[in-house]
C-alpha cells in the first residue's frame, strides 16, 4: 500500500461517524479526527467563539479552517439576505468576511484564529 495512513483515513469517518463531536478530539493522534488529518499535532488546542459557540482550533489554523472542521459554514448574510460562506479559500473572493473582535469585513480564510477571539456572523455591511 503506497500510503500507509490511507487505511486509517478511511477508518476515520467510520470510527467517528464522519462528523465532528466532542468525543472525537484529542485521543486519537493518527488518521483522520473528525474533519482533521490528525497526526503530529504537537501543540495544544484552544478555543475561540463563533456566534457564542466555543470552536476548537489549533495554532496556525485560520478561522475558516477551524469553523469548517466544526461544521460551521454559514459565515455571513449578504446585503440581499442570502447566506454565504467560504468560496475560494485563498483570500480572493471575500465571501467569508465576518466580524472578528468587532472588526467587520475580516476574511475568515486569511485570519489566524487566536485563543479567546470573538467571531460573529456579518449581516450586510456589518454595521
Amino acid at each position: 500500500m503506497r500510503n500507509p495512513t490511507r487505511a486509517l483515513s478511511r477508518a476515520g469517518p467510520i470510527l467517528f461517524g464522519g462528523a465532528i463531536g466532542e468525543s472525537s478530539w484529542g485521543s486519537c493522534m493518527t488518521g483522520v479526527i473528525g474533519r482533521r488529518l490528525g497526526e503530529d499535532r504537537a501543540q495544544a488546542a484552544f478555543t475561540f467563539s463563533f456566534e457564542g459557540e466555543a470552536i476548537q482550533a489549533w495554532p496556525g489554523e485560520t478561522i475558516a479552517a477551524a469553523l469548517m472542521a466544526s461544521g460551521q459554514v454559514h459565515l455571513r448574510d449578504a446585503e440581499d439576505g442570502s447566506a454565504r460562506g467560504v468560496v475560494c479559500g485563498i483570500g480572493a473572493c471575500w465571501e467569508c468576511r465576518c466580524i472578528v473582535d468587532g472588526a467587520a469585513n475580516t476574511r475568515a480564510c486569511m485570519t489566524e484564529a487566536r485563543p479567546g477571539m470573538v467571531v460573529a456572523r456579518q449581516h450586510g455591511v456589518g454595521r
Partner: protein
C-alpha cells in the same frame, strides 16, 4: 552596478524569479499575500500537522525542489509576506501595503508572478455556504489538514476536480461522485502532448485509481443544474449535457451533500499588469485577460515583466522554468543589457517550458467549457456575488445599452465589489456578448487599488527604495 528587482507573488514562478535575479547580483524584494512561500500550488502547511502529506509523493517532491531552491538564497532576499501589492504605475512604481503602511517601491524592474484565481460559472444556488471552489477545498487541506465537508460532490472541468476528489477520499470524506463537463479522454486527442507531460499523466492516473478503489463514480458529460438547502448546501442536482453544456431535461440526478467542490477554469490575476499599461489579450481558456509578453516575459510596459500562470495558465512546471527565465531577463532589463546570453545560459529552462506548454495543449482540451455554461444561471441567480447583482438585472442594463463591462459596472455595480470583479468578469463578458465569450471583450478599466487596503495603509507611506 547593483540593480533592484521586485517580484510579486511567491508561487513557483515568483520564487524561481527571485532566486535567479538574486544569483545574478540584483537586490531582490519578494512581495506575497500569503504568510509562507509556495503560492497556491505549493502551499505549505500552517502548523506541524500532517497536512504536508496531502497529494502524491511526486507532487511533494516537486514542491520541495522549488522551496529548497528558494531557501538557498532566501537570506539575501527581502521577503515581505502578508503584503498586498495594490498599485503599479509606470516607472515602474509599485505600492505595497505591508504591516500597516505603504511601501513605495521604485525598482529597476518588476516581475509579476501573480498567478490565478478560480473561475466560477453561476448556476442557481451557487452562493449557498458549502459551495466552494475545488482549489479552495484543496488549499484548506494543504494548509490545515482540514477537509471542508463529509459528503462531497465534485464538479468541473480539467484535471483539478479529479485530484481534489481523490485527496478528499484520502482525507476521509465520502465523495458521492465527480461530475465532469468533459471526459478526461478528450486529452487523448493530443497523444504527443500527453507524452510530453507523462509524469503528470501518471499522477492523474494515480488519482483516478484512488477514486476507482474507493468506488467513486467519475461521470463525463455532466453539468450542475442547481444547489438547494436552507442556509447551506444540502443537495445538488446535476444533469447530462449533449456537448454544449446545456443540461438535458429529464436526465437530472439529485445528490445529497454538505460540500460541492467546483472548478470551471481560472482567472489570471492580471490587475497590476493591466494597470501598468501592458497590452492585454482575452484568452478565456488560459486565464481570461492576460498580458502579452515576449519569450523573456517583457510586456509593453517598460520595466514590467510577467511569469507563470498569471501570464497565461500553463501549470506549475512551466511557471518554475519561466520564473528563472524572467528573473534573469529582469536583471538584464534593469542593467540595460540585451537578452542574447539568456537563452544560451538557460537552455534547459527554455526546453522545460516548451515541453510542458506542449502538454498544456492536451489539458486545455479537457478544460474547454462550451458557451452553453453561461446559460446555467436563471434570472434570479446572483452573478456578482459581492454586490448581489442578478442575471436579470445585468441583462436589463445590457438591453438599456450598457454593453461594455465599464458601463455595466457603473450602472449595476456588478464588478465593483470586494473581489475587484475577479469572480464575475467572465460572466459579465459572456452576458454582454450574447451568452458566449468573445475574445474582443475589453475588461473593466483597472484602477488603483487592485487589492483592498485601509485608508491608514495608504496614508502612512514609507519610501521603500
Amino acid at each position: 552596478m547593483t540593480v533592484s528587482v521586485v517580484v510579486v507573488g511567491a508561487g513557483p514562478a515568483g520564487l524561481m524569479a527571485a532566486r535567479e535575479a538574486t544569483m545574478r547580483g540584483a537586490q531582490v524584494i519578494l512581495v506575497d499575500e500569503a504568510a509562507r512561500p509556495g503560492g497556491q500550488i505549493y502551499r505549505q502547511s500552517a502548523a506541524g500537522d500532517n497536512a504536508a502529506k496531502i497529494g502524491l509523493a511526486t507532487e511533494r517532491t516537486r514542491k520541495q525542489t522549488v522551496l529548497d531552491a528558494f531557501s538557498e538564497i532566501a537570506h539575501q532576499v527581502e521577503y515581505l509576506p502578508g503584503a498586498a501589492a495594490y498599485s503599479l504605475f509606470p516607472g515602474p512604481e509599485l505600492h505595497v501595503a505591508y504591516k500597516g503602511a505603504t511601501r513605495e517601491l521604485r525598482p529597476d524592474a518588476v516581475v509579476l508572478a501573480t498567478g490565478v484565481s478560480e473561475r466560477g460559472i453561476p448556476f442557481p444556488g451557487w452562493t449557498l455556504p458549502g459551495v466552494m471552489f475545488a482549489g479552495g477545498v484543496q488549499a484548506t487541506l494543504k494548509a490545515h489538514g482540514v477537509r471542508a465537508g463529509d459528503r462531497v460532490v465534485v464538479t468541473g472541468a480539467g484535471p483539478l476536480p479529479v485530484a481534489v476528489a481523490a485527496q478528499l477520499v484520502e482525507a476521509g470524506a465520502q465523495v458521492q461522485c465527480v461530475a465532469l463537463v468533459h471526459s478526461l479522454r478528450a486529452m487523448l486527442r493530443r497523444p504527443a502532448a500527453l507524452w510530453a507531460g507523462r509524469e503528470l499523466v501518471r499522477e492523474g492516473m494515480d488519482y483516478l485509481r484512488i477514486l476507482s478503489r474507493a468506488g467513486v463514480e467519475v461521470l463525463d458529460g455532466w453539468v450542475p443544474v442547481r444547489a438547494d438547502g436552507e442556509q447551506r448546501i444540502e443537495r445538488v442536482t446535476i444533469a447530462r449535457h449533449s456537448g454544449d453544456a446545456r443540461p438535458i431535461s429529464g436526465t437530472e440526478r439529485a445528490l445529497d451533500c454538505d460540500l460541492l467542490a467546483m472548478n470551471f477554469g481560472f482567472v489570471a490575476n492580471s490587475e497590476l499588469a493591466r494597470m501598468a499599461g501592458a497590452e492585454i489579450l482575452f484568452e478565456p481558456h488560459r486565464g481570461g485577460w492576460i498580458p502579452r509578453a515576449d519569450a523573456f516575459g517583457r510586456t509593453a510596459a517598460p520595466g514590467v515583466l510577467v511569469a507563470g500562470d498569471g501570464a497565461g495558465l500553463r501549470g506549475a512546471l512551466v511557471a518554475a522554468a519561466e520564473g528563472r527565465i524572467t528573473g534573469a531577463a529582469a536583471v538584464a532589463v534593469a542593467r540595460g543589457e540585451s537578452m542574447d546570453s539568456i537563452e544560451a545560459m538557460l537552455g534547459a529552462e527554455f526546453a522545460q517550458r516548451r515541453r510542458h506548454e506542449h502538454f498544456q495543449q492536451a489539458v486545455q482540451e479537457a478544460l474547454r467549457i462550451p458557451d452553453g455554461a453561461w446559460s446555467w444561471a436563471n434570472g434570479e441567480t446572483i452573478c456578482c456575488r459581492c454586490e448581489c447583482v442578478t442575471r436579470s438585472r445585468i441583462e436589463r442594463a445590457i438591453s438599456d445599452g450598457h454593453t461594455s463591462l465599464n458601463a455595466l459596472k457603473r450602472n449595476t455595480r456588478a464588478g465593483m465589489g470586494w473581489c475587484g470583479g475577479r469572480m464575475c468578469a467572465h460572466t459579465l463578458a459572456a452576458l454582454t456578448a450574447g451568452g458566449r465569450l468573445d475574445t474582443a471583450t475589453v475588461q473593466m478599466t483597472p484602477r488603483p487599488v487592485a487589492r483592498l487596503v485601509t485608508f491608514a495603509e495608504v496614508a502612512n507611506r514609507v519610501d521603500g527604495g
